[in-house]
């Protein structure tokens, strides 16, 4: 492609739209990708010059995020989710079909530049899969017939706006409601309460509620807020400096495969989420906040912008909120671009600053040193929705439910082998057995609680309970019945971690790839007992030596499955102690081609040997 003045002008206008701020680099690159179906080299040069950053800074961002690409993609770029539940619903076969019909392989762009295909990590539609993305927009409930229609629309080059709405239809799919979903707050109710009673009172209520972060780690929200409010301290516990800026960030990077509860909260309860953020801002003294929305949730963006606009119009955002002097708060939406690691709070902050999402070295923690080095609260979507409800109804209302150490309720996302996948809300303390009964799951092999980074629960442990003191979860609940092969599940999750490793630290960068290769070798039946020992010790090593939660959980799928389903592993073992990591016969293929032979004697494994 030759670089014309029109194209150059387009790039400059995109840069201007984002005020040429380096913190907007990822947002600018997203716009460029959408416009050009790649990030052209000349665009990178221009952006680097305009933002006054180095070329390598721009290149590092492009190469970090899966949804950005140096190579030209098709005008229709179709990705199918490769998450385990989508695979179970037949996504791989659909890809074969799609690929055959369009005449292009996954990972490739067709010669005419019309279409390109690929796989992507979980798209957050596990309850209505197999799912995918076309030019960043959700495609739900794919089947052979739907794929045929899509091929037809693509070949006729019909713009996405004119595709049938049902292709993109995504339902909330709420199957059962609980504390939070049954009692949505009226717009402004929490803020009115805060303005009336003061933020000290709201803080007392949040503290009384015992609310713990809903992302999975379960840090007490009130503590996080207090630390952020107080700012960094010296070793004697005195404030280091008067900090002027504080930030409130809502983590909507819901990337854990099998999780989609934030999708529903943002779709139907966005007011409440933003209200929770605003309450938090009042408590900690923040003037600016961000919603970090995962790239795969692009479809939600326009309606979220509309909600923000309506809140501004009602003075629920902006300056002197609800007439209270000095209570100023503004929320911006930032989009991710396909990187699971950005769900980790310090990686998310890096991404918000326009950089590759690599987890920071800690200490210092975000509560002291977060966005642009300022004290920052990062909480999950569901946490903020809970905050707004607690501010409106009181801490006691919330704390009356749940268990001693896990107050309130939890929204979980159920997918996989059951009759009624979807959204379920339970008080903390609910048993796995009860959940399985409600969603109609029978003859189960096990349940993956908390996604690949969580753990597998075998059918002998269904008495266990969802709660921070037993099974902590961000909300992912994937069910596998007895027809499923546990080794394929391990393979899928292990590949996922290798794909999503950021590459910062040695044990995760190298270890996840080594583990992926070893798991592949095992699943393909080429491993002996010694390999199993090596694979296990490698998984444990990555877990103990890695820098952040991603590496620390990358070995969980293997270790968990091995502990619960040892027979499945035994059955796949070769009898011998050593088996090469490659197919010996396959390796002779070149020699056979060169010698124009394919007779039985030219193969390693011959009849009777």
């Amino acid at each position: 492609m030759t670089w014309s003045e029109t194209e150059q002008e387009k790039i400059l206008s995109l840069v201007r739209k984002h005020e040429a701020k380096p913190t907007q680099l990822l947002q600018i690159l997203r716009d460029v990708q959408e416009e050009f179906h790649c990030v052209p080299k000349d665009a990178m040069e221009t952006i680097a010059a305009e933002l006054k950053v180095s070329r390598t800074t721009v290149l590092a961002v492009v190469e970090f995020y899966s949804l950005l690409s140096l190579e030209q993609q098709g005008r229709f770029h179709i990705l199918l989710s490769d998450s385990i539940t989508d695979q179970m619903l037949g996504s791989r076969k659909l890809m074969d079909h799609l690929s055959a019909k369009l005449g292009v392989e996954p990972g490739q762009t067709r010669a005419d530049g019309l279409v390109s295909l690929g796989f992507t990590s979980c798209t957050g539609l596990c309850d209505q899969g197999p799912a995918g993305l076309v030019n960043g927009h959700w495609l739900s409930r794919l089947d052979g017939e739907r794929i045929d229609s899509i091929v037809d629309y693509v070949e006729r080059e019909i713009p996405l706006d004119n595709w049938p709405a049902e292709f993109f239809k995504v339902e909330d799919n709420i199957q059962s409601t609980g504390l939070l979903l049954e009692s949505p707050i009226e717009n402004g109710a929490a803020l009115k309460q805060a303005v009336r009673n003061g933020f000290d009172d709201i803080f007392v209520e949040i503290n009384r509620s015992g609310l713990r972060g809903r992302g999975g780690a379960g840090f007490k929200a009130a503590w996080k807020w207090r630390f952020c409010f107080e700012g960094p301290e010296n070793s004697a516990g005195l404030p280091l400096a008067v900090q002027t800026d504080r930030y409130v960030i809502c983590n909507a990077d819901e990337g854990e495969p099998g999780t989609f509860k934030d999708r529903i909260l943002l779709n139907s309860h966005a007011h409440q989420v933003f209200e929770g953020m605003t309450v938090c801002a009042g408590v900690v003294g923040a003037k600016r906040g961000f919603l970090y929305l995962r790239g795969e949730y692009l479809r939600l963006r326009p309606q979220l912008e509309a909600v923000l606009a309506s809140r501004r119009a009602k003075n629920l955002l902006g300056t002197s909120i609800l007439g209270r002097q000095g209570f100023d708060f503004e929320i911006e939406i930032h989009m991710g671009a396909g990187a699971y690691i950005c769900g980790e709070e310090s990686a998310l902050i890096e991404s918000l600053e326009g950089k590759p999402g690599m987890p920071r070295v800690r200490p210092p923690y975000p509560i002291d040193n977060g966005y642009l080095g300022q004290p920052t609260v990062v909480n999950n979507v569901e946490t903020f929705a809970s905050v707004a409800a607690i501010a409106a109804y009181g801490g006691a209302w919330f704390a009356s439910r749940g268990t001693d150490k896990s107050k309130g309720s939890k929204i979980i996302s159920i997918s996989g082998d059951c009759e009624r996948p979807g959204i379920y809300e339970y008080d903390f303390g609910v048993s796995i057995a009860e959940i399985l009964l409600d969603c109609g799951a029978e003859h189960t092999l096990g349940v993956q609680v908390g996604g690949p980074s969580g753990g597998i629960i075998s059918n002998k442990e269904y008495h266990r309970k969802l709660a921070f003191e037993d099974l902590a979860t961000g909300g992912s609940f994937m069910i596998f019945d007895k027809t499923r092969d546990i080794l394929e599940i391990v393979r899928n999750f292990t590949h996922f971690f290798a794909h999503e490793s950021c590459g910062f630290c040695t044990p995760c960068r190298v270890g996840t790839t080594l583990l992926k290769n070893q798991v592949d070798k095992f699943c393909d039946g080429h491993s002996g007992a010694l390999d199993l020992v090596g694979m296990t010790s490698l998984a444990k090593f990555i877990k103990s030596a890695s820098h952040c939660g991603l590496g620390q959980s990358a070995g969980n799928p293997l270790l968990g499955a091995l502990a619960h389903y040892p027979d499945a592993f035994k059955a796949r073992l070769k009898d011998i102690d050593f088996e090469p990591g490659f197919d010996l016969d396959e390796s002779l293929e070149t020699a056979r081609r060169m010698s124009l032979r394919d007779d039985p004697m030219a193969h390693l494994e011959q009849e009777g040997i």
Partner: protein, 243 residues
Amino acid sequence: MSKNTLTIDGKPVLFEGGDTIMAAATRAGIYIPHLCHNPEFSPQGKCKLCEVKVNGRNCASCTFPAAEGQTVLNNTRELNETRRTLTQMLFVEGNHLCPGCEKSGNCKLQAVAYSLNMMDLRFPLLYPKREVDASHPDILLVRDRCIYCEMCVRASREVDGKDVFGLSGRGIDNHLVINSASGKLVDSDLQATDKAAQVCPVGAIIVKRHGFEVPIGQRIYDHKQISEVSLEIEMALEKEHHG
């Protein structure tokens, strides 16, 4: 400045406010194995070789702040096994063909492997395909040997003021990139006299026409342990930079 004390492997070590555990250890003449740390540049904590146990918790000593009363374990069997495994990972990740490498004997990766008693690779080699950049008249870049320590990246940014190098690519697709229009070294500002051209701990960045000036067998680590060499240099640097 107030003096505080922590212990490393039972030995009392004095530290100053703002010290990392690595800085305090180096000043006290205690070697903690490392590959991505150099007192001249800002620490980053990514190779993980310098991980120690602080009050029972694993921490990268080059970034973790020293504090009063910490009990630090460094030279233990368990930690050295971890370090050996990390070194094995770095070997299989790249293409490290020591016998044909100009850096052999002066290479920190090799020296660390010797000192940790690494006898095999343990893992299957990944055989990555990486680009060689021989475009520069004075400097050769052999990416096969790169271990992503970012010495060159930081030296160029923090000392040379040039910003010639960067890392790009996610996960195992990490690679060293050059800040020039063509992406080639020849079009960058790099000069052979730059700090960035001198600090590579392995043979990834090599100044041309100086090959094999010192015969194999007479090189730095052929006769000395890396712990000895490293302490000698870095104690002086630590004094100079954080003195």
